[in-house]
Symmetry: C2
Subunit: 261 residues, 2 copies
Amino acid sequence: MWVIKIGGEVLDNPTVLNQVLDDLTQIQEPFILVHGGGKRATELGKALGVPQQLIEGRRITDSATLDIALMTYAGEINKKVVASLQARGINAFGLTGADGNVLKATLRESTPINYGWVGDPDPKDLNMPLLKSLLDQEIIPVFCALTHDGKGQMLNTNADTMAAVIAIGLAKVYPIKLVYLFEKAGVLKDVSDDTSMIETLPLKDIEHLIAEGIIQGGMLPKIANGASAIQQGVKEVLIGSAPNLLSALKNTPKSATHVIL
Amino acid sequence: MWVIKIGGEVLDNPTVLNQVLDDLTQIQEPFILVHGGGKRATELGKALGVPQQLIEGRRITDSATLDIALMTYAGEINKKVVASLQARGINAFGLTGADGNVLKATLRESTPINYGWVGDPDPKDLNMPLLKSLLDQEIIPVFCALTHDGKGQMLNTNADTMAAVIAIGLAKVYPIKLVYLFEKAGVLKDVSDDTSMIETLPLKDIEHLIAEGIIQGGMLPKIANGASAIQQGVKEVLIGSAPNLLSALKNTPKSATHVIL
């Protein structure tokens, strides 16, 4: 089974998004989709006079920003993706972590950085009976990057983390492969050169790639979460470009970066 | 089983909304919640420069207004209600008609009034196996008033209609009671006087109450849908005030208007 995370850059590009949605109809195995927000949240923030701030690819979430995340991730984006998949004959079902209590999270500590209403989920809190019931009905869960604390508070959650936590939780029962789709070919030695993609990335190399500044910015959560997934039983972690989805799933050479133990 | 629709005025008043959510924890039977949008959609429309227009309690839905409905109904409101119910120990699950294709609708004809992206659902399109699977898991479905056409288009749907269609669909399998909760005591002879509430409203009286202007505005869709529900197998239709929910469910005298055959 695949857990496929699509990044904001994919959501922001209708041509690429439609190709990914078309490609998803070609997958034989069951899969779970996880998406974040993209430019839409930032644009809505601007229109409503709520400035958006990101630190290391993670959004600082005050109450107004949480509302924007609820509106864009869970509302507009999630439902449009679900309806688009339904039109393609995929029985998609949109959800946040709050729905059916499928994934609870813990409010992140406010030190050293106060991220606001941000939650960190734990794979042990993944509601496996509910997910299994949906998958058994051939339903494709489409998660947006929001969870709840179980005490009435919705929490913004990094979409890369959410995908990894869902993959790790499922890996206890199913053989799981995790795919991060974004706008680059994979982890690049030279960020401006797609041909510099690292095909195989062993965990032991990650530290010095971060020290050298090759892994940075929005790649940091992908790598940290990918590494954590591979250490906790996920069979494969791929980081690659959205238009390469099908070749990446088929393990075609040079189609994506493989994070390995 | 109860299908309970909460109106915009209830959503707009945190004290009343919290009381309703508390009251829901007292219900022994399974239930389904349906909610609309309320002021939030109108406010967001204003903030984004998208004027909102209602005709006979129904919103004219251009593309920008549909996005606002997606953001407020399916995003902010639905997820906050779900998280609040989860905090109360109710295993709520938010959904639109698109999710799991639980309720498909047909784009409304553009004549005599072009309502835009508005869908009319049919009880025969209610996905009973999916709903039954959720109810069997003691999950409480929380519907917002959006459906899809199955061809990739989300559709705005009158929340009163949505509640009635869900009630009618379920009535084929479960004994169903439908409750419309709003800010008034029920159907009032004098709209400014809660004591003028009509306790029992036979279908045959509806036509002349509309002709006399007693039933008008936002009450029209409630009555039309309530009448349709009672004619199609729903056991009881109640129209009453949100704070009276529990007494209405217990059939306490003067707690709500009962629409009867």
